[in-house]
């Protein structure tokens, strides 16, 4: 253990530390600061203790948004993961089709989120939108501005359209890494198409799938831009997710204290869920 300690190294990481302090730590501490105080403007603050937290955790509005978030994440995972696997399995593995498919798959991922929202906002409008107009024309009563169910369908389809590609690309990467010999051996062993999927393709995709599920869960749990652009959280509060609620509270009503408390709780929930996923993944790796 003849390690030479060289404290000069600290100077080299100093710029990063300063940067992180300004971008992350100081804002975070500001939020913590707000969350335990009350203000009526004019920069006058009074101590509020845990009042905002108690109020938040006992408010039905918070829990309703939370449940909406969980339901939304669950639905899009239930659609995007199987659909992504299905598309990846059916993508060509060689030839000119590969770049074509990859580019087509990447397109939705390259579009900025607010543009995705705008696209679907227009696309779904029942007066001028391509989808909305024709759905109504064939007799389906579709109007996401007024009907909560239609609003949910719209943002779910939008999210599936936007993000299934990510699952596809990750699964595809897992699939192309399987050597041909595995498929040949499976033929020799007389394996059915299902058995090939169950015992060769799925085990090889397991790790990328975990990453895909993690990423999609986190992203969908923090979703803000797209539903905000499409429905603005409505009709009523039917598509008001935690992040939308947060912005409404903080910017709309300028209730800095409750908004700060909510940010912290929201942050802790995501931290907790990330930790759970991380633990599950590392345990899974250790088991191998």
């Amino acid at each position: 253990m003849d390690k030479t300690w060289n404290n000069k190294a600290w100077f080299l990481v100093l710029p990063v530390l300063v940067l992180v302090a300004f971008t992350a730590v100081i804002p975070l501490m500001t939020v913590v600061n707000y969350s335990v105080q009350d203000t009526f403007g004019n920069n006058v603050f009074t101590w509020a203790g845990t009042e905002w937290f108690e109020e938040l955790l006992s408010s039905s509005r918070f829990w309703e948004a939370m449940v909406r978030n969980l339901i939304f994440s669950f639905i899009i995972l239930a659609i995007e993961v199987p659909l992504g696997i299905f598309i990846a399995l059916n993508m060509p593995k060689k030839g000119w089709g590969v770049p074509v498919c990859l580019v087509l798959m990447s397109l939705p991922l390259l579009i900025p989120w607010n543009v995705v929202g705008t696209i679907w906002q227009v696309f779904g409008r029942s007066d001028i939108g391509l989808m909305g107009y024709y759905l109504n024309a064939i007799g389906i009563d579709y109007n996401y501005v007024q009907d909560p169910f239609d609003a949910w369908v719209t943002i779910i389809i939008m999210d599936v359209w936007h993000w299934t590609s990510l699952v596809v690309l990750l699964c595809y990467a897992g699939l192309v890494s399987i050597p041909d010999a595995f498929y040949q051996a499976a033929k020799i062993d007389g394996a059915s198409r299902w058995a090939v999927f169950r015992y060769i393709q799925l085990p090889k995709m397991q790790r990328v799938l975990l990453i895909a599920v993690l990423l999609r869960f986190m992203d969908s749990f923090m979703i803000y831009t797209e539903p905000f652009v499409v429905t603005g959280g409505g009709p009523g509060n039917s598509t008001t997710f935690l992040s939308i609620d947060l912005v409404k509270t903080a910017l709309g009503q300028f209730d800095l204290g409750p908004a700060a408390a909510m940010s912290l709780v929201y942050f802790l929930i995501i931290l907790l869920l990330s930790w759970v996923f991380y633990t599950v993944m590392t345990n899974y790796d250790a088991e191998r």
């Binding site: 040949q184 033929k187 020799i188 062993d189 007389g190 394996a191 085990p203």
Partner: protein, 355 residues
């Protein structure tokens, strides 16, 4: 078990093969006898794996037919042909136990579970993994994994043939010997028809009764290890088999004499119809180094343990000779060719010698 007839099989990976060079497999016409142990030996890219995959049905040949026991199987799928094949890299089903890996091919064919259990246990004994049955397959070493790949072939006792595609590439040298002798034992005990692809001559010669030497998409010689050594039909076989390979030098033949530059070499007989580019081939083992014969200049002596390899120049050409471990190179070295080891080649193919 089955006799496998490969009838004028040609294969090209191109959709429209035009020239002879477009074919990965030029033309193979050969019968693998029932219960035989064959090795397909050749350098990389000579078409041996292509031939193997055609036999197992993973590839459909561009031309020609394949018969198992006289029945045309050319258009049958791999599964219908009932073939076992072991690949270069071990293929195991990671998430299954060793037991389930071996049971997999049987369960896929709807074999009753009682029979599956009996067969799997037998096979586990055979490949010496009985104590690992309940372990997950992914934790095993490379050679254990390869044994499982092998076991998945052996577990189906009714297979028509077992094909090996360089199965010992990833195995440690020590384990290579063990596995190879286990394979030989299995062959003796159960009489499977086995075809073994390799580019390693030691592996081919120790495994097989009949070695099929392939070169540039075709079969150049089929024979026992001794035949390949003594009477290589093609100069390629001479180079490829043996270490060091055969000495091949251009000569002019007149009757029972070959002229190598200014040297006259007595042949065991007069070659029949030696036209075209005539060459004389002699294995280093038949080159006698001593005080009489043709003068050579020795450039290097390599001691390989069992014997020494002498590298020398004869009439300006490289020549190798093998001498005993205790022998030394004389002061004015000369070489003689043992007539028993002389082969004459015309345009690279061996010509018979008359009296």
């Amino acid at each position: 078990m089955a006799r496998i007839d490969v009838n004028h099989v040609r294969h090209s990976y191109l959709p429209n093969p035009q020239k002879e060079a477009d074919f990965a497999l030029r033309e193979v016409h050969h019968t693998f006898e029932d219960g035989g142990a064959y090795a397909l030996l050749g350098p990389s890219g000579c078409g041996k794996t292509t031939l193997l995959n055609i036999i197992s049905g993973l590839l459909h040949p561009s031309h020609g037919k394949l018969l198992f026991n006289g029945r045309d199987v050319t258009n049958l799928s791999t599964q219908e042909r009932n073939i076992a094949q072991v690949f270069q890299f071990p293929v195991i089903y990671d998430t299954m136990t060793v037991y389930d890996n071996l049971a997999f091919p049987l369960r896929n064919r709807g074999v009753p579970e009682a029979d599956v259990d009996r067969k799997v246990r037998e096979t586990l004994e055979m490949i010496d993994l009985a104590s690992w049955a309940r372990k997950k397959a992914r934790g095993l070493t490379a050679d254990q994994k390869q044994k499982i790949s092998l076991g998945r072939g052996l577990v189906r006792s009714d297979v028509n043939a077992i094909l090996f595609d360089e199965p010992l590439t990833v195995i440690d040298p020590h384990m290579k010997w063990v596995l190879r002798s286990q394979l030989k034992q299995l062959h003796r005990r159960f009489g499977y028809t086995m075809v073994y692809v390799t580019h390693d001559q030691t592996e081919a010669l120790t495994f097989a009764d009949q070695v099929v030497v392939m070169y540039d998409g075709g079969i150049v010689q089929i024979g026992t290890p001794a035949e390949l050594f003594e009477r290589p039909r093609h100069t390629f076989v001479g180079y490829f088999i043996g270490s060091p390979g055969m000495n091949v030098m251009p000569v002019a033949v007149e009757g029972k004499t070959a002229m190598l530059g200014s040297q006259r070499i007595e042949l065991p007989g007069a070659p029949k119809a030696a036209s075209g580019a005539v060459e004389l081939g002699i294995r280093p083992e038949y080159v006698r180094l001593g005080r009489d014969g043709m003068a050579v200049s020795v450039s290097k002596v390599e001691d390989v343990g069992r014997h020494k390899v002498v590298r020398a120049k004869l009439e300006g050409r490289d020549i190798a000779a093998v001498i005993g471990e205790d022998e030394t190179v004389p002061a004015e070295p000369k070489v003689r060719f043992d007539p028993a080891g002389i082969n004459i080649y015309a345009d690279s193919w061996r010509v018979e010698m008359g009296a």
